[in-house]
């Protein structure tokens, strides 16, 4: 309870401080210390009447103390004497969280740094939680964050000019999508206390959507997350073995998430220019709305992939389109198109295995699954491909 309250307040407190004092890095440190103080005091003394004001005041004091320490070194007490914690009337503007998100995804930072900084400064996760979520040691994440903050020294805390905005928002979308997929594809059960990255990504995407309600790609990304995450309860069987989409128990899918995601994407497609996240969400919606795997509207999915191939081509789009093509036109055409591509990725082996299976060549499918199992860098995928290889050989034609 206190945790989620704190995490919702973090961006607001941080932006209030940055607006007043500048220097994002130092303000972020001060806010972290205020959070620590709150985590210790609030459970004991109760939550203050105005938690945001409490945090802003506490963080401001800390920020000023830092200044005093610096100032002592450079003998500038007279400027510091004038600094007092701000009044409680400090109301951050609507754009502050967006400004903060854009700052965390600044083009000067590497992608992993953008991810780590976003999760900490906007998501309010601790360095330890981020490290656990990504299965890397805490110092690795700590260094990433401190380096990123160092790089952002002198970066202006303001919305970028209008003409840069689309590109900057695109970077935020990419970061949130990365966070989501990392959570979505993590094998469960082997990491105690792992932060729910999918839930975190959805939470941040909701925030972004509230800030940019007219942006179709923001809506598309949130819809894609909801429609993908809706399938999670059915993605793994009782034995922890992954269940492919076609074999999932659709009764387990989250109907309310599907309803919300479908409504979102329908509205976005009807009212805004189309983009890659919207198309991917639309594809996910077609899958989610089919009562059974056999009832899947593959021709519609194929049309969507054709569009996606035009506006955002890539090897995964090529491969997924071939799966749809096989469902519409049969495996032979898809196989001949696959032969014509130069995609050299283990996913190409998996798609080939699937197509060979459909065309009644279990031996060929087996060999492709084995090859994919050898090439993947993911343990859960390797186990899954090996089990598919065995299964394809044992099935009766």
């Amino acid at each position: 309870m206190i945790d989620s309250l704190l995490r919702d307040l973090i961006p607001q407190v941080l932006t209030a401080l940055v607006r007043r004092y500048g220097d994002f890095g130092k303000c972020e440190d001060a806010v972290q210390e205020a959070l620590l103080a709150a985590a210790v005091q609030w459970p004991k003394d109760g939550v203050p009447d105005n938690p945001k004001a409490w945090l802003i005041t506490t963080a401001s004091r800390r920020r000023i103390e830092m200044w005093r320490n610096e100032a002592a070194r450079i003998r500038r007490e007279e400027t510091v004497a004038a600094l007092e914690p701000p009044s409680f009337e400090l109301v951050p503007q609507q754009d502050d969280t967006l400004t903060l998100l854009l700052l965390c995804c600044h083009p000067a930072l590497t992608r992993p740094s953008q991810v780590a900084l976003t999760l900490r400064a906007v998501g309010g996760l601790t360095t330890a939680e981020i490290a656990r979520a990504y299965l890397v040691p805490e110092p690795t994440i700590g260094q990433r964050i401190s380096r990123a903050k160092h790089k952002l020294r002198g970066a202006e805390f303001a919305l970028p000019p209008q003409d840069e905005l689309p590109e900057r928002v695109a970077a935020v979308l990419q970061v949130l999508y990365l966070v989501f997929t990392e959570g979505h594809t993590a094998s469960s059960g082997d990491a105690v206390n792992r932060v729910e990255l999918t839930a975190e990504a959805i939470r941040l995407a909701r925030q972004l959507r509230a800030l940019l309600p007219a942006d179709g790609e923001v809506a598309g990304l949130l819809a894609l997350m909801l429609l993908t995450d809706a399938r999670r309860p059915a993605r793994t069987g009782a034995d922890g073995i992954p269940v492919p989409l076609a074999e999932q128990d659709r009764a387990l899918w989250d109907a309310s998430a599907i309803a919300e995601g479908s409504a979102l994407i329908e509205h976005a497609l009807a009212t805004t220019p189309v983009g890659p996240y919207q198309l991917q969400a639309a594809i996910a919606a077609v899958h989610d709305e089919a009562p059974t795997a056999d009832a899947t509207d593959w021709p519609q999915i194929l049309v969507l992939y054709d569009l996606l191939q035009q506006i955002a081509p890539g090897p995964m789009v090529t491969l997924n389109r071939l799966v749809a093509l096989a469902s519409v036109e049969g495996p032979a055409l898809a196989l001949s198109e696959l032969d014509g591509t130069d995609v050299d990725h283990y996913r190409a082996d998996v798609v080939r295995a699937h197509l060979l299976e459909l065309s009644g060549d279990p031996r060929g499918a087996h060999d492709c699954y084995v090859r994919a199992a050898q090439r993947t860098l993911s343990l859960p995928e390797r186990e899954y491909f090996e089990s598919r290889a065995l299964r394809v050989m044992s099935e009766k034609p």
């Binding site: 992608r111 992993p112 993590a186 992954p242 749809a324 859960p380």
Partner: protein, 124 residues
């Protein structure tokens, strides 16, 4: 993605190190320090291994556990150190590996580490 970088020394590289003055060795270690500072956030851990002569081999067999000294003398290339990196791509891991100060004298191997994330629910 995580990558393990293995550095294999050879008789020539070991002799070169042994033949350096203290200043040269200190400068060599400083070069590593500078290198590590540049790798902040990407270097998870790295260690330099002790002399190959200090290697012990452990054999677990049906008749019990025994240890023997050292690697096989005829093996010229011996593991001298390793890095565990966390980076965006294999290309980046290779780029880092090529900048290891010892790289010009050693054999460097870069191997991907198996991870726990992977999507098996991709429309199949």
């Amino acid at each position: 993605m995580k990558y393990l970088v293995l550095i294999y020394g050879n008789p020539a590289s070991r002799a070169a190190w042994a033949g350096m003055t203290d200043e040269q060795k200190a400068e060599g270690l400083r070069a590593y320090q500078r290198f590590h500072e540049e790798l902040e956030g990407e270097r998870i851990v790295s260690e330099r291994l002790a002399a190959p002569e200090l290697t012990k081999q452990v054999h677990v067999r049906t008749d019990g556990v025994s240890t023997t000294d050292g690697p096989f003398a005829e093996i010229k290339e011996q593991l001298a150190g390793f890095y565990l990196l966390e980076c965006d791509s294999e290309a980046r891991a290779l780029e880092i590996a090529a900048r290891i100060p010892e790289a010009p004298f050693a054999t460097i191997e870069v191997r991907p580490v198996m991870g726990l994330t992977g999507d098996v629910d991709f429309e199949l």
